[in-house]
C-alpha cells in the first residue's frame, strides 16, 4: 500500500502553481498519469523518486519515505526509474549497465532474455537503436526489484511500432515482478493497453481518478469519429478551397467552402469529423 499526500509550489510556464496530491495506491496496480504538459506529472514522479523535495508524507509499505520534512534519499528508496531518454551509462556495456546497480548476474541475464537483448549484452549504448536503449533502461530499472516502478514518458521518443513492442514488455515485467507501476503518458492507446487505473492531473490537482476504461471512454470516446489535427495550409483550387491538415503522422486533404475557409487560420488546431453515415436519434433536450 502506498499513501501519498504532498504539497509543493511549482514555477512553471504559467507562473506559480501548487502541486497538491492526495493519493492511495494498492500494491500491484498499474497507474497511468496523464494531463496537459505543465500539470505536475513529472514533478510528482520526481518527488516520489526523491529527486525533488516536497512537503507532506509518502508512505510505502509501512515505511515513510517522507514525513515531517524528513526525506529519505533517492538512493535508499526502492525505486526503479525510467527516463524519457539518454539515461544509460555510455562507458559501460549493456550487461555492465545492469550489473552496476546490483551485482546479480542471474537477474541481469533473465531480464535481458525477457526483453530479447541477450545477444547485445556486450554492446555499448552508442551502437543501440532508440528502442533497444529504452529496453536496457527498463531492465536496469528492474534490477533492484523495486517496490515502485516509475516511468516518465518512457516511449514518447520512439516510433509507433517500437512503442507497441515495448508496451508489451513493460506489461510483462510489471506482472513478472508484481511491482507497482506509475507511468506518465499522453497516448490514450498506450494508457488503455497498459494501465488499470488512470489519474488525470491539471494545474497540480487530480481532476479525474478511476478505472482506465471509465476515465478514457468518458473523456475521449464517443460513437462519432473525430480527430484533432493542425491546419497546415489553405489552397485555393478553382472554386473550392482545399485544407491540408496534419493528424498524427498523416497529412489529409479536406475540401472546404469559401465561407468555411473564412473562419479558419493556418496553424490552428481543428477537429475533423465525419457527418453521420447513419442517422442518429438525439434526445430532444440535447
Amino acid at each position: 500500500m502506498i499513501n501519498i499526500n504532498i504539497k509543493k509550489t511549482l514555477h512553471g510556464v504559467n507562473g506559480a502553481m501548487s502541486l497538491d496530491i492526495d493519493l492511495s495506491i494498492k500494491q500491484g496496480e498499474f497507474i497511468a498519469l496523464t494531463g496537459p504538459s505543465g500539470s505536475g506529472k513529472t514533478t510528482l514522479l520526481r518527488v516520489l523518486a526523491g529527486l525533488e523535495v516536497a512537503e507532506g508524507e509518502i508512505e510505502v509499505n509501512k515505511s515513510f519515505w517522507l514525513k515531517n520534512n524528513k526525506s529519505i534519499k533517492a538512493q535508499k528508496r526502492s525505486i526503479g526509474f525510467m527516463h524519457q531518454e539518454n539515461a544509460l551509462f555510455p562507458n559501460m556495456s549493456i550487461l555492465q549497465n545492469l550489473l552496476f546497480v546490483i551485482n546479480d548476474l542471474e537477474l541481469a541475464l533473465r531480464l535481458l532474455s525477457l526483453t530479447g537483448l541477450t545477444k547485445l549484452q556486450d554492446s555499448y549504448p552508442k551502437t543501440l537503436s532508440g528502442g533497444q536503449k529504452q529496453r536496457v533502461s527498463l531492465c536496469r530499472a528492474m534490477m533492484r526489484k523495486p517496490d515502485i516502478l516509475l516511468l516518465d514518458e518512457p516511449l514518447s521518443a520512439l516510433d509507433a511500432k517500437m512503442r507497441t513492442q515495448l508496451q508489451s514488455e513493460i506489461l510483462a515485467l510489471h506482472k513478472e515482478f508484481n511491482t507497482t507501476t506509475i507511468m506518465v503518458s499522453h497516448e490514450p492507446s498506450e494508457i488503455y493497453k497498459l494501465s488499470t487505473r488512470t489519474i488525470v492531473l491539471e494545474n497540480g490537482h487530480i481532476i479525474k481518478d478511476g478505472k482506465t476504461q471509465e476515465v478514457l471512454l468518458k473523456s475521449q470516446g464517443s460513437q462519432k469519429f473525430s480527430f484533432e489535427g493542425e491546419l497546415l495550409e489553405l489552397k485555393e483550387v478553382d472554386v473550392i478551397i482545399i485544407a491540408i491538415v496534419a493528424i498524427g503522422q498523416q497529412i489529409v486533404e479536406v475540401v472546404v467552402s469559401k465561407k468555411e475557409a473564412l473562419d479558419l487560420k493556418v496553424g490552428q488546431r481543428v477537429i475533423l469529423g465525419t457527418k453521420a453515415f447513419a442517422p442518429t436519434i438525439l434526445h430532444p433536450s440535447l
Partner: protein
Amino acid sequence: MFEPFYISFKLASITVLILFLISLPLSWYLSQTKSKIKPFIEALTALPIVLPPSVLGFYILVALSQNSPLGAFFKDTFDISLVFNFTSLVIASCFYSLPFMVQPLQSGFESLNKNMLEASYLCGKSKLQTILFVALPNIKPALITAVIITFAHTVGEFGVVLMVGGSIPGETKVASVAIYEMVEIMDYKGAHIYSAIMLGMSFIVLLSVYTFNAKHKRKFGL
C-alpha cells in the same frame, strides 16, 4: 646538465596530483550548483589566467614569507621556510595552474546528461560513486585535457617561479628559468637546446591531446 628539466617535471607532476584532488570536488560543485556565489568562485578560480604572473608571485611571496602569520607559523612549528625552496614552487604552481585543471573538468561535468547522473543516484549510488564510476569515465577527453594542459602549463611557467622560488640550482631552477639565465649570460647554444626541447615537447603534448579527443569522440560519440 638537464637537472632543470628534472625539476620542472617533478614540479609539474606533483602539481597535477595536488590540483586534481582539489579540483575534482571544486569543479563538480561548480558544475552542479545553482548557488548565487558560483560566479564569485568561478571568477576567483580564473584570476591566474588574467593576472600578470608577477602580481600572483608577489602576493604568494607576501603570504608565505616569514613575516606573514602563515609563514611564521610554519617556521616556528615545523622549522620550514615556505619561500625560495621547492615547497614554495609547488604552492605557487597550484595557484597558477588551478584554472587549467578546474575549467576543463567543470565543462566536462556540465556536458554530462542530467538524466544519466540521476539514473546513477536511482541505481542507489552515492555522489562519490557517481563521480568516480559514471561522471569521470564519461568525460575522458576533458580529464585528459585538464591533466595534460595543467602539466604543460606548469612546466611552462616562468614569472611566478622566478619570484617565489628564485633560481637555486637543483632546488628551484626550472627549465624556463634556466633558459632565461642562459640568454642573460649569452650562452645561446644552451638556450637553443633547451628551447628546442621545450618547443618539441609542448607540440607533442598538444598533438596527443587533440588526437586522443578526436578518437574518443568517434568511439563513444561523447
